[in-house]
Amino acid sequence: MTTIPMTPPARKGAFRRFLTDLAREPLGLAGAIVVAALVLIALFAPLLAPYPPAEQSLTDALLAPSAAHWLGTDEYGRDILSRLIWGARVTMRTVLSVTAIVGPIGLLIGVTAGFFGGRIDAVLMRATDVVLSFPSLVLALAFAAAMGAGLGTAIIAISLTAWPPIARLARAEALVVRNADYVSAARVYGASKWRLLFLYVTPMCLPSVVVRLTLNMAVITLTAASLGFLGLGAQPPLPEWGAMISAGRKFMLDQWWVALMPGVAILITSLAFNVLGDALRDILDPRHTRD
C-alpha cells in the first residue's frame, strides 16, 4: 500500500475564510460595514435617536442643521436625525421581509424548472415571463390602491414582482448543475429526484442567488422609497424615508435639508447593498474572481 502524504487539512472555518476574503476587498468591506451599521441602527433605534421621531414642536419647525439638531428639523419641528434612525427600521424591515419572501420562492421555482425540464420547466418559465413583464412599480401601485396603503401592502406588492429574476438565475444554474458528474453518480447510486433537487442541485445554486438577492436589496430600497414617496408605503407618522422626501419637496429651495437628508440615507443604503453584493459575487463565485 503506498503511503499517502498527510497534508494538514485546511481547518479554518468557512466563515472565518469568508471574513478574510471580504477584508481583501476594501469596497466590499465598506459596504458590509455600512449594512451592518444600518442593521444595528434599526435594532437600537430607541437608544440611538436623540428625540422621539413623532414629537412635534412647531416653534422649532424647519431649523437648519445645528448642534441641537444635527440634521435639522422638518415642518412639524421633528428632529430629522431621529426620524432617519427610526426610518432605518422601516427600510430594513421592508428589505429583509421582501428578501425572505422572494428568495425561497424564486429559488424553489427556478431549481424545479431547471432540474426537471420539459413541461414543468415550460409552465414555470412562462409564468415567470408573465410576471416579469409587469412594471413593478405600476403593479405595486395597483395592489396598494386595491388593498389600501401600508407597510405590509408595500412589502407584498414589491415581492410580487421581485421573484422572477431570482427564479431565472436559479434555473440557469440548475441547468448546468444537473449535467454534472456528481449528479449522474448520485443517479447511479439510486438517489431519488427530490433528494437530488434539494441536497445536490439547490446548494450549488445558492451562491449566485445570494449575490443577486443582495444586489436586489438596493433596488428594493429604492422601490420602497418610491412607494413611500407616492404615499403608498408606510403611513404617517411612521418615518419612512421616501415619504420624508415627498413631504420635503415643498421646502426644497430654502430648507433643502428636509428632503436631502432622507435622500442621502437612501443613497448610502442602496450603494452599500450594491457594493456588498459585488464583493460577495467575487468571493462566492470562483468563476468571477479577478486577479
Binding site: 500500500m1 503506498t2 499517502i4 498527510m6 497534508t7 487539512p9 485546511a10 454534472a180 458528474d181 456528481y182 449522474s184 453518480a185 448520485a186 443517479r187 447511479v188 447510486y189 439510486g190 438517489a191 431519488s192 433528494r195 445536490y200 446548494p203 450549488m204
Partner: protein, 244 residues
C-alpha cells in the same frame, strides 16, 4: 455476468451505437477502446442506467434490466467517472459522499462503514471530514472508487478512470483497481482511448468505431501489433509511435 445483445442507440437522426453484442464473464475485465464519438461512453452510460431510449437487450448478473432501474438493479453495477474534479459534490464532505450511496440503497452508512471504505482505497479515515477541493486528483479518484464499491456491486464500469491523471498517479490508481478486482472478484468494463492502459488492465479488448465493434484483441495482440481490422491496426500504430 453482463450480456448485451442487438444494442442500438439513436439520438434523433444520429445512430450512435449500431447493433453491438457483448458478453462479459464473471470476474473478467473487458476493455472498450475507441476515439471520441465512437459511442463507447454511451454504451457504458446505458449499461449503468444513466441513459434511456436505447433498444436491445441488457442483462446484468443473469437478470434482464430495462430503461429505468430499481434500486436492486442499480446496486448490481456502479460506475467510476473520468473527471476526479467533477464526480464528487463540491459541497459534500468525503464522509458524506461515501455515506450517500449506502444511505440511498438502504445499507448501513455509519462512520465505521465509511472508514472501512476509505481504508480499502488506501486513504486515512480522517479524510472523511475533508472537502473534495482539499484532496489531490489521485486522492479524489480513490474516493470515487471507494464510493462505487461501497454498495458492493459485482460489476464496476470505468469510464476513462485515469485519463485526467498524471502518469505516476495513474499507476497507483490502476494498481488499486487491479487489487480490488482480485480481492472482491469484480467484473470490470473499462472504457478508454488509451491503448496501453486497456492492454494492461483487460483480458479482452474491443475496438469500437462509429458505433460498432470492429475488432477484438488480446493484450498480447496489442503488444505484438497484431490486428485484423485496418482501423485497429491504425490505432495501434498511432498509440505506439516509438515502435520499431
Amino acid at each position: 455476468m453482463i450480456d448485451i445483445r442487438d444494442f442500438h442507440v439513436r439520438y434523433g437522426e444520429n445512430h450512435v451505437v449500431r447493433g453491438i453484442n457483448l458478453s462479459v464473464a464473471k470476474g473478467a475485465c473487458v476493455g472498450i477502446v475507441g476515439e471520441s464519438g465512437c459511442g463507447k461512453s454511451t454504451v457504458l452510460r446505458c449499461l449503468v442506467g444513466l441513459e434511456q431510449g436505447w433498444q436491445g437487450h441488457i442483462s446484468i448478473d443473469g437478470k434482464t434490466v430495462g430503461q429505468h432501474r430499481t434500486h436492486d438493479e442499480l446496486s448490481r453495477a456502479q460506475m467510476v467517472f473520468q473527471d476526479p474534479f467533477g464526480s464528487l459534490h463540491p459541497r459534500h464532505r468525503i464522509g458524506r459522499a461515501l455515506a450517500e450511496p449506502a444511505r440511498c440503497m438502504g445499507l448501513p452508512h455509519g462512520r465505521d462503514r465509511v472508514a472501512a471504505a476509505l481504508e480499502e482505497v488506501g486513504l486515512p479515515a480522517a479524510f472523511a471530514d475533508r472537502f473534495p477541493h482539499e484532496l489531490s486528483g489521485g486522492q479524489r479518484q480513490r474516493v470515487a472508487i471507494a464510493r462505487a464499491l461501497i454498495v458492493e456491486p459485482p460489476v464496476v464500469l470505468l469510464d476513462e478512470p485515469t485519463s485526467a491523471l498524471d502518469v505516476s498517479v495513474q499507476a497507483e490508481i490502476l494498481n488499486l483497481l487491479s487489487d480490488r478486482r482480485d480481492e472482491r472478484e469484480l467484473t470490470y468494463v473499462l472504457v478508454s482511448h488509451d491503448l496501453s492502459v486497456v492492454a494492461h488492465m483487460c483480458d479482452r479488448i474491443l475496438v469500437m468505431q462509429d458505433g460498432q465493434f470492429v475488432d477484438e484483441l488480446t493484450p498480447q495482440d496489442i503488444g505484438a501489433g497484431r490486428a485484423t481490422h485496418p482501423y485497429a491496426r491504425h490505432l495501434i500504430a498511432a498509440s505506439f509511435p516509438d515502435a520499431a
